[in-house]
């Protein structure tokens, strides 16, 4: 299950899970991610569609019951997805922490020379 999966998430999956902390349809995810990353991450519709289907299969996100006049399917993160997302966030924080730690001590050595 989720806790045993230790591999890094792809950038697309990371941002999809992040965006789905609120209910969104596909286009909303694309726009939200693009805005957040200042146009750096532009999800291709083919990539996004494939990822959404895979994430639904894994039960990391779920489609919301289609409501009212909106024909577009909305998705939201599940508890399982939240767990995976938190793990990934912790892993990324560790990377950043280690990176800064080593660079800082390298700087100190330079200073004391």
């Amino acid at each position: 299950m989720a806790l045993e999966e230790q591999g890094a998430l792809t950038e697309a999956v990371f941002y999809i899970l992040l965006a789905l902390h609120q209910p969104l349809h596909g286009y909303g995810i694309m726009q939200g991610v693009q805005e957040l990353t200042n146009n750096r991450v532009v999800l291709g519709p083919g990539t996004l569609y494939g990822a959404l289907n895979t994430l639904v299969e894994k039960d990391w996100i779920k489609p919301l019951a289609e409501s009212g006049d909106s024909r577009r399917k909305q998705y939201v993160i599940t508890e399982q997805g939240e767990l995976v997302f938190q793990q990934e966030l912790a892993r990324l924080e560790e990377l950043v922490h280690h990176g800064k730690l080593v660079l800082r001590s390298a700087d100190h050595e330079k200073d004391s020379d």
């Binding site: 792809t10 291709g44 996004l48």
Partner: protein, 170 residues
């Protein structure tokens, strides 16, 4: 203003590049069937074109769901041809790529190879028979088979390159 161009491409990426060159000159493809492309004159560079091979024929429910999803994102489906779809999006909306990561690009190339390879092998075998015992009809197979070898090599090389890059970068 409209014009029709008859052209046959064996490499879908070359075909895509050509459609985008035409679009840059203001000729926007609006329909395709059996090597016949219909173009309409408009603003140069108004659209970006992409071709995609789907898992199922365009009329299949799975494909229909995907095409509906594409249209939600501002992508226009201008033509379908068996499992191929011809897509375009307004250039003003920003860059348009169907696949934005390595894995999905690789799997699309693999899908195209898996579709093309058995047909090509069949054509080459039939074509060999044309060379050996001579029913002239099979020389069409030989021609089709030989022509398909080049795009197959190109797609394969692209997947290798993507795999190589994938070892150091997501």
């Amino acid at each position: 203003m409209k014009k029709t161009v008859i052209k046959f491409y064996s490499n879908f990426e070359k075909e895509e590049q050509w459609l985008n060159r035409m679009a840059a000159q203001g000729w926007h493809c609006t329909d395709y069937a059996l090597g016949r492309y219909v173009f309409e004159k408009g603003e140069p560079g108004e659209y970006i074109y992409r071709l995609q091979l789907l898992d199922y024929p365009a009329a299949h429910a799975e494909s229909a769901a995907y095409l509906a999803f594409l249209e939600e994102t501002g992508v226009e489906v201008i033509a379908t041809w068996f499992r191929w779809v011809f897509l375009r999006k307004k250039a003003a909306d920003g860059p348009f790529e169907i696949f934005s990561d390595r894995e999905s690009r690789i799997s699309h190339y693999k899908k195209v190879i898996a579709m093309l390879l058995p047909i090509t092998i069949f054509n080459l075998i039939m074509g060999m028979r044309a060379l050996l015992d001579g029913p002239r009809l099979y020389s069409v197979n030989l021609f089709a088979g030989v022509i398909a070898i080049f795009p197959l090599i190109s797609y394969y090389q692209r997947t290798l390159l993507l795999h190589k890059e994938g070892r150091i970068r997501e």
